[in-house]
């Protein structure tokens, strides 16, 4: 990277971009024709085109949200977004066949290296579509499907048709409507009955072009008694104009199944990250969201779980770091719809250099959900006087046997802790870094080792120069 580029990017180490070399690029702006063209280009069945068109009309009619950071949301110019950009003609199975410029990007992000060491499968998505995809042979032999969503629709239309939009219908919110209209890429996973995918599978999402909109769609189905851990990473270059990332992720955990979905979102500070994520847990199933928000300009993301079957369990661990100009509006939603369901939500946030972090949560117990238990803990650290932290929890309890707790606290780094570490020879900056890493530790320990190390490094970078 040139020095000039380095200066523009600042601390954000993934802020580089490669020259755009699109094979197909749609004009900016959205219309019914754009939606139909995307569908036609992908050779989709008619039912999918119909869903897309219906969603497009819903998107156009639906008002922008009237809650959250409305000022920041008002800055999205939907007419200045490229809704589809194809950068490679096909999805490669061999890393060597991936176009050089794209390969270089992912090499710099460390993806192929990680795959060799510790992953069960990898999808790499560049702009609108997946450019590389692989899965370990033993998993394939056991019947595990791990495809990019476009291939999933082509190869297993019956499964996609059965489950697509069942957890998050297009009419759920304005951005789920937008995603349903123009979705492209994402992952499609089906784990057959009783199969345990021991190693995590990973998808990596990269936006490279300016004013790009990435709308990946992920659908994960874990059949009875199976389990899977899916890891997702996201980065984008730093531009002066904004990009839009609006994904929809649907998880379905059948009886006794377990799905863990880990994300470390590290978009550059010009990306609007407006994502709808929701899972359904059937009888005795578990859905876990491990959600890290470090980057983006505005994130609005509230991973949700519908506990639909008796004995189902939901777990959400969420951390957010809001630096200069960032608003991390994150949280979690758990709906207890069946008896004896349990959930636990842990949210941690740090605000620094005028950043704003918000926890927005919903805990609902319906009258049918007897004997359910839930615990919500939100902790926020404020590192300077320009920053801001908000907590907006909602608890709706419709069954008297529910046992629920919510606690939240906002504070600064304790002077005692700083003093203790400094008296043992650390500089104030090091001490602060250690405290922040320790604060996020309940999150990092849930991540695969490589991600945890990377996250700690990222935080240390963000913390540099935070003293004085």
């Amino acid at each position: 990277m040139t020095q000039e580029a380095q200066d523009a990017v600042g601390d954000y180490k993934y802020g580089f971009h490669d020259p755009e070399s699109a094979t197909i690029r749609f004009d900016k702006g959205l219309s019914e024709q754009v939606v139909r063209d995307i569908s036609e280009l992908k050779g989709e069945p008619e039912w999918m085109t119909d869903i897309r068109v219906k969603a497009y009309h819903h998107f156009m009619e639906r008002e922008m949200p009237t809650w959250g950071n409305c000022d920041s949301l008002a800055g999205i110019d939907f007419d200045n977004v490229t809704y589809f950009l194809r950068s490679s003609d096909k999805t490669e199975k061999d890393w060597d066949d991936v176009p050089d410029d794209i390969k270089r990007t992912f090499d710099r992000l460390g993806i192929p290296e990680a795959e060799q060491k510790w992953l069960g499968g990898v999808t790499a998505q560049y702009e609108s579509e997946a450019v590389y995809h692989s899965i370990r042979e033993d998993l394939e032999e056991q019947g595990v499907l791990f495809l990019d969503m476009d291939s999933g629709l082509k190869e297993h239309p019956e499964l996609v048709k059965k489950y697509f939009g069942t957890v998050i219908p297009h009419s759920d919110n304005k951005f789920s409507a937008l995603n349903t209209a123009v979705w492209s890429g994402g992952s499609f996973i089906y784990v057959p009955k009783g199969v345990h995918v021991e190693m995590p599978v990973q998808a990596y999402f990269r936006i490279n072009a300016k004013n790009m909109g990435q709308f990946e769609r992920t659908l994960i189905i874990a059949d009875e008694g199976s389990s899977i851990h899916y890891v997702e990473g996201c980065t984008a270059p730093t531009y002066s104009t904004d990009s839009l990332h609006s994904a929809v992720v649907e998880l379905i955990a059948m009886e006794g199944a377990k799905i863990r979905y880990s994300t470390v979102q590290n978009w550059s500070a010009n990306v609007y990250n407006l994502v709808t994520k929701r899972g359904v847990a059937h009888k005795n199933a578990t859905v876990e969201w491990v959600d890290g928000n470090i980057g983006s300009k505005l994130t609005m993301k509230y991973p949700a779980v519908l506990l639909k079957g008796e004995g189902a369990h939901a777990e959400v661990i969420s951390v957010a770091y809001a630096g200069e100009g960032q608003h991390q509006d994150a949280g979690a939603k758990v709906h207890h719809l069946a008896p004896n369901t349990t959930s636990s939500i842990l949210s941690k946030s740090i605000s620094k250099n005028g950043g704003r972090s918000s926890y927005r949560g919903m805990l609902q117990v319906t009258p049918k959900a007897a004997g359910c238990r839930s615990k919500v803990v939100c902790d926020a650290l404020m590192l300077d006087e320009d920053s801001r932290s908000d907590t907006y929890p909602t608890m709706e309890i419709g069954n008297p046997t529910a046992d629920l707790e919510h606690e939240a606290s906002v504070s600064k780094v304790s002077g005692d802790q700083l003093f203790y570490l400094m008296s043992r020879g650390h500089t104030e900056e090091e001490a602060m870094g250690m405290i922040v890493n320790g604060f996020f530790e309940p999150f990092t320990r849930e991540l695969p080792m490589e991600y945890a190390v990377e996250l700690n490094r990222l935080l240390e970078l963000e913390m540099e120069g935070s003293i004085g």
């Binding site: 009237t66 809650w67 009258p367 926020a380 404020m382 590192l383 300077d384 006087e385 320009d386 920053s387 801001r388 932290s389 908000d390 907590t391 907006y392 929890p393 909602t394 608890m395 709706e396 309890i397 419709g398 069954n399 008297p400 046997t401 529910a402 046992d403 629920l404 707790e405 919510h406 606690e407 939240a408 606290s409 906002v410 504070s411 600064k412």
Partner: protein, 344 residues
């Protein structure tokens, strides 16, 4: 001043009106401003004076509405006095506005009685520098009454203010209680006990705004909901960027006693200063079986044991009150009410 008929009826997406829409607590059709009577206020302990209406802030629809229907403001001379005030309401629609200015120290308990169809209550006050004021409000209105209550309190430098509410009357209540800590070292303690029975719908919205440094606030809301009652507690705690060294805590506790009872708790927190300790907690649970077992093993029936636990839970709401007069009145009234209600 904003006219009610020109104001927009708030939608349910607004935090304040989410669970109790304005149309359900208006005395008639929302596009009307009905004639209302003034409630009778009696006290042997304080001096009262009436004057032209002191306008309420026009920050929301209920206050704008009350500004139009209220006919006068009653000011209480309370300095260095302790005692009780009885507000009696009757007829179709009744409203009253009480204003308290405290310069020294005072302890006041306000009783709300009567059987109006609709009751509008505005309570406002200034707790001036160095003053100590403790106010208790006991709602013993008829089970058919719809009540709208709005409070606006200002707590100034080095002042101490306690505000306790015992809510057990009325059919549908919407209380919007706002306090602003306007001077450094100002302190606010707020306690609310809600007993839900029958089909009572009781919605408390509590806003606390820290505008100055070294201020502290404490809020405790305990709600016990029986039968088909519904309790809502929403909090909005704001700490301004200049309000460093603030200490703020909010606790919402719900005890659900019957399968058809419901409770909502939304304690919101907006913190713009960093040298603060701000925390909130919310919990909801059924009666602890171990507590029940303990009491029953000592010979109490299940009903007796349950009512004892409920009583302990609600009476405890007021144990943090510094004012003995207010604490005793609140706890005594609560005990009497629960004895009538619970052991049937």
């Amino acid at each position: 001043m904003t006219s009610y008929l020109d104001a927009n009826v708030p939608s349910r997406s607004e935090h304040l009106w989410r669970y109790t829409p304005w149309s359900r607590v208006h005395p008639g059709a929302v596009d009307t401003v009905p004639q209302v009577d003034t409630a009778t206020i009696k006290t042997e302990d304080f001096g009262l004076a009436t004057s032209a209406i002191k306008p309420l802030p026009t920050s929301d629809i209920a206050r704008i509405f009350l500004n139009e229907i209220l006919q006068e403001t009653t000011t209480i001379d309370c300095d260095d006095k302790d005692g009780n005030i009885h507000i009696h309401a009757g007829g179709h629609a009744v409203a009253t506005h009480l204003h308290v200015t405290c310069n020294t120290a005072s302890n006041i308990v306000i009783y709300l009685h009567g059987e109006p169809d609709w009751f509008g209550l505005a309570l406002t006050g200034d707790v001036n520098a160095n003053a100590q004021l403790s106010v208790g409000v006991i709602n013993e209105l008829s089970t058919d009454t719809v009540m709208v209550r709005v409070d606006d309190w200002s707590v100034h430098r080095d002042a101490r203010f306690e505000l306790a509410t015992l809510s057990m009357g009325g059919h549908r209540n919407k209380s919007d209680i706002r306090s602003t800590l306007k001077g450094s070292n100002a302190s606010l303690k707020q306690f609310i006990a809600v007993h839900g029975h029958g089909t009572r719908h009781d919605d408390h919205h509590i806003e606390i705004h820290h505008q100055q440094p070294h201020t502290n606030s404490h809020l405790l809301l305990n709600a016990a909901c029986d039968d088909r009652s519904h309790s809502i507690g929403t909090g909005a705690l704001t700490i301004d960027d200049v309000a460093q060294h603030t200490d703020a805590g909010q606790i919402f506790r719900n005890l659900l006693l019957s399968p058809s009872s419901r409770a909502e708790a939304i304690p919101e927190l907006e913190v713009l200063a960093n040298e603060v300790a701000a925390a909130h907690g919310a919990a909801s649970a059924p009666i602890n079986k171990e507590h029940l077992h303990y009491l029953m093993s000592r010979g109490l029936s299940k009903e007796e044991a349950t009512s004892m636990i409920v009583e302990g839970f609600l009476v405890d709401s007021f144990s943090g009150l510094d004012s003995e007069h207010v604490r005793d009145e609140m706890q005594t009234r609560l005990t009497v009410h629960l004895e009538c209600q619970l052991i049937r």
